[in-house]
């Protein structure tokens, strides 16, 4: 230790900055450190590039998935145009409908006129809709699980219709709420389609809810065939007053 007395205030900063390297430590290997730093500088650039590639790939994948889902949904929501009872069989035979049944557990129908009676045939797990005339009102019809015998009066839920206009097409769907129902031709049941509730006798009477449907009323009647899994409904869509 030196014994000097300068009389000046001690300057820590200047004293410490006189040091060239760490005391008692090996010299700093600048070459190795530079290599590391250069690698890091280079690596970071590559990482940025990779991130952009990944982002692009992710965007493409999301786009592809969205498109796939969109088209799958379109396929699933295959519209069954059933304006006359005669067409039911033909419609059921279409492969797209079979696919629709498998996926959506129901049938989708396009209804295209104001005054119409829709016949809904239910046998086992299948549902079929027919309209005597074309109609414009559209409703999503959810059929109850007919196997639930404990329910005293089975309800048929009809969602509110879309606002109609003359040019637009609308979609109505009927689906079993609990179980997929088999679609059969209405003639296969061999039963008259009437709106007499008395014909139902000992069987459950199905009520249709949401009777407003743009001031049009719906009435539904079940006609069982002795088989608890079979039923027929008639839905009347009357013109607004």
């Amino acid at each position: 230790m030196k014994e000097t007395n300068t009389g000046k205030p001690f300057n820590w900063k200047d004293t410490v900055e006189q040091l060239n390297q760490l005391p008692g430590e090996p010299a700093f290997d600048k070459g190795a450190a530079w290599d590391k730093l250069q690698q890091r500088l280079h690596k970071k650039t590559n990482t940025k590039k990779i991130i952009w590639y990944r982002l692009s790939a992710a965007c493409l994948l999301i786009g592809f998935i969205t498109t796939a889902i969109f088209f799958t949904k379109q396929a699933a929501n295959t519209v069954v145009v059933v304006s006359h009872a005669k067409q039911i069989k033909e419609a059921v035979l279409q492969p797209s409908i079979t696919q629709n049944e498998n996926k959506n557990n129901g049938i989708t129908g396009l209804l295209t006129d104001t005054n119409a009676t829709i016949h809904v045939a239910v046998k086992k797990d299948k549902v079929m809709i027919a309209a005597t005339t074309s109609i414009t009102d559209l409703a999503k019809v959810e059929l109850p699980n007919l196997k639930q015998k404990k329910v005293p009066a089975t309800e048929m839920k009809i969602a509110a219709p879309f606002i109609t206009d003359t040019t637009a097409s609308y979609t109505a769907s009927a689906s079993a709420s609990m179980k997929k129902l088999k679609i059969v031709h209405i003639n296969e049941l061999g039963l008259p389609i009437e709106r007499e509730t008395s014909v139902a006798q000992n069987h459950q009477l199905l009520f249709l809810q949401s009777n407003h449907l743009n001031n049009r009323s719906l009435v539904g009647t079940q006609y069982p065939e002795g088989n608890s899994n079979t039923a027929i409904f008639s839905i009347k869509l009357s013109s607004p007053k």
Partner: protein, 184 residues
């Protein structure tokens, strides 16, 4: 080649210029890092992080003079060190009542070599050392230190006082005389 020319070339993407700048400043910056972070490996890692940021942000730097460049790089290094210490939760500073200000006998200190002074500083606990470095070595006032470290000004003052007290004790062990001044 002077620093201005090196900066100009480095801005244009010259790797050789970057290396020259690194070689020029690495030693002094490592010392700065070691003053804040005791561990040599950590200090070297911080040095690389600091230079990485320096090279990445070089385009925004307007060269005026060598000292300004050194100060800028030094500031980057100090910030990196503080970030590192924060991550490690090294600051365990609680608000304490201000301790008596301690004045070390400057004549005695001037008898110490730079290496001895450096050794004394890095022997301080991390909280004391950080405040001491910022206050004494970087000439920051307590308000700035408090804002930088997220502590109260009083805490900064007390940490500095304690750092100086501890340095006194170390100096006693080294046989250096000291005096104690009470301001309150």
């Amino acid at each position: 080649m002077n620093l201005q020319q090196l900066i100009k070339e480095a801005k244009q993407g010259s790797s050789a210029a970057e290396k020259c700048l690194f070689d020029e400043m690495a030693d002094s910056m490592l010392l700065v890092c070691c003053r804040y972070v005791k561990n040599r490996e950590d200090a070297e890692e911080i040095l690389l992080d600091g230079f990485f940021k320096f090279f990445k942000n070089m385009s925004s730097f307007q060269f005026q003079q060598d000292a300004a460049l050194y100060n800028w790089v030094k500031k980057i290094m100090i910030n990196e060190c503080l970030m590192f210490l924060r991550k490690k939760n090294s600051f365990s500073m609680v608000t304490e009542k201000e301790a008596d200000d301690v004045a070390l006998q400057e004549d005695a200190l001037s008898n110490l070599s730079a290496a001895e002074i450096f050794s004394l500083i890095i022997q301080l606990p991390v909280g004391y050392r950080t405040v001491f470095n910022l206050s004494v070595m970087e000439d920051m006032d307590h308000k700035e230190i408090a804002a930088l470290l997220g502590i109260a000004e009083g805490t900064s003052r007390s940490q500095l006082s304690k750092a100086k007290s501890l340095l006194q004790q170390m100096l006693i062990q080294k046989g250096v005389t000291y005096e104690r001044n009470k301001y309150r």
